[in-house]
Amino acid sequence: MIRAIARKELVQYWRDGRVVTVFGIVALLGLAATVTGWSAVSAMERERASAVAMDREIWDTQGLKNPHTAAHFSRYAFQPTFNLAVFDPGLTDYVGNAIWLEAHYRDPAALRPVEDAVEIQRIAQLNPAWVIQVFGPLLIFILLYGAVAAERESGTLRQLLAAGMRPVSLLLGKAVSAFSLTGLLVFGVLLGSAFLMSAEGIERLPDTGLRTAALAALYLVYLAIFVFLALGVSALSSRSRTALAGLMGIWIVATILGPRIGPDVAGALAPAPSAPEFAARLDQEGADPFWGAGEEAVQRRQRVMDAALAEYGVETVEELPINYDGYLLQASEEFANGVFDTMYAELWGGYERQHAIARGFALVSPTIAAQNVSMALAGTGLHAYRHFADEAEEFRREFVLLLNQEMIDHGGADGYAYVSGNGFWRQNPDFEYAAPGIGEAVRGVWADVIILLLWLAIAIAVAALGVRRGFLGEMAA
């Protein structure tokens, strides 16, 4: 019975020019978004490859220079734009993919613009994931608003019930037909993305296959929510026009307003610092307490000198077998690192608070939860960027230590006059980013998964209510 209903619906869809037109437009949007995504990712990867090579060449050929001066001359940590960004670029266009690795300073580039931390959660650009997130529900609502209401208006519902059809079979048959069409859209877009993702020059995320399968499952659950909501609303509405109006309201709130208002409210309730303000604080709190003229800074430097003298068992700095300036620089580096850890923990904590507030809006908009999970699986969410930023910071610290150590070990009494040459620079390592696996990637979005499943349960309950109540009036007519 369900199969017969689903098949009949598909034939009707096919013969209904409006449905074919809307499906065609959404499919074209999906195709255009996929090609655009691939083009953008390919371009970013080409630019990154070129920038990596240039960065290396400039570093290798900088000539004679003090290693610590070179640490200020600095290098960059580049984050690859991975293959799944073709499908869901997430925050890719909103955050930097290059971090400046400088001594005494932790570049917040990955978070730039810091004041737009709210904005970066506001994804409203043409990409395959967004097309499914916004137009998938719209397509479902257009297909299903009349699922029961229009059958009631035309009189066919009464005859189907008289023929022994169970209301639940009608709903499931309609669900299968709408699901197969929208599922076709999801798999079409995912397959198209997968094909383009495998293009040469685009780096693969670890667990790409697993992530793609999880994305398919995510969007099927997401679309199922709207399928059951549409069926329930249609069954409970006396007229198809009423059902359409109600569903359009749900669509606007869920896919347009919720994802825009949520981050705004989060930004207002838990504001993030501005980029210049945060950078100034990094400078001030990381440097002044060590290098300043105040008593605290003087004492701190004195303690470093005392420790160095004790470590090497000498009385004066001049007797030290190392370059003391390098030693002091490394000590200041370690001091600043502690400050950065505290400041960045506060910053990330602020983002987490914003994220939690915005996630609260997922209770009125499953799209928000779906976006969070989708970005996490595609490796383009906030947690992925934090992972990259933390890895880059770890490398920065090792790299600065390497340079300072060169000065400490080989600089002797030359102080800042000690210089290294291209031979040394060429031995220095590059930053190589290893993205986390799927387990790590989804760790921050379990709450979103639970919210989505809750939404699915609510939608099924609405459809079940439609089955229980929506057919009673019809039968008594």
């Binding site: 009949k8 009464r158 008289a162 023929a163 022994g164």
Partner: protein, 244 residues
């Protein structure tokens, strides 16, 4: 076989049907006459299990429709005044869908065209989309659906209203054929003369009660009309039956 046992239905305080007891066996047809609100459609709704009886029971081929609503509909055909079909599907496709709904997936296209032919719809018409069908053609699809599901009990609610004389005559002939083939038919109608043609029993309903039960062989059309009009007189006729 269709059977009502003390079938009673109240909508709130309003009595729509009062202790109706009838039995329509194979090859029999009961034509119910009555004004709007007399209880004819309520009777049909009770047989379709669309509403619950206040008391009593309705049985189709021995199945209590409340206890076994799906089983009771397996060989039951319902034809309303306005047969609703899917306009973007052809008559044949509508029939195929309706047959599948009732669990008859085994019909080949030729079988289905045969049912339509028997109902009076030729193949070229059956292959056209229903959007261009007349009311009579839609009813033929409904009859064909009843044939396809091998219906043995028919509930017809004013099926002749609005049909032109030729179409009404054709439809009556098909129903008479079905009855002769052993179908049990319950027909609600305002058309006294078609009731005379089709009924093995004629019932007159008023305010939810079956007030007259007649053998069409024992009365003429004019006599039936007179009996009907006299039954309707007396003030209450058609005035307080509630939803019918």
């Amino acid at each position: 076989m269709l059977e009502a046992r003390d079938l009673t239905k109240f909508f709130g305080e309003v009595r729509a049907l009062n202790a109706l007891s009838v039995r329509i066996g194979a090859g029999e047809s009961l034509c119910l006459l009555g004004a709007n609100g007399a209880g004819k459609t309520t009777t049909i709704n009770l047989f379709l299990a669309f509403v619950e009886p206040t008391s009593g029971s309705a049985l189709v081929n021995g199945h209590d429709v409340q206890l076994d609503p799906i089983g009771s509909k397996r060989h039951l055909a319902y034809i309303p005044e306005q047969v609703a079909l899917y306009p973007s599907l052809t008559g044949l496709e509508n029939l195929e869908f309706l047959a599948e709904l009732s669990g008859h997936r085994d019909h080949r296209t030729d079988d289905l065209l045969g049912f339509l032919e028997r109902a009076g719809l030729d193949a070229p018409a059956a292959l056209r989309r229903v959007a261009g069908y007349s009311k009579g053609m839609r009813q033929k699809v409904a009859i064909a659906a009843a044939l396809a599901r091998r219906a043995s009990a028919f509930l017809l609610d004013e099926p002749l209203s609005g049909l032109d004389p030729a179409a009404a005559n054709e439809f009556t002939e098909v129903l008479a054929d079905l009855r002769r083939d052993g179908a049990a038919i319950l027909l609600a109608t305002h058309d006294i003369f078609r009731a005379m043609e089709l009924g093995t029993t004629i019932g007159i309903m008023k305010s939810g009660e079956l007030v007259e039960r007649l053998d069409p062989g024992s009365v003429t059309g004019a006599e039936l009309e007179k009996i009907y009009l006299e039954s309707m007189r007396g003030g209450a006729a058609g005035a307080g039956g509630g939803p019918a």
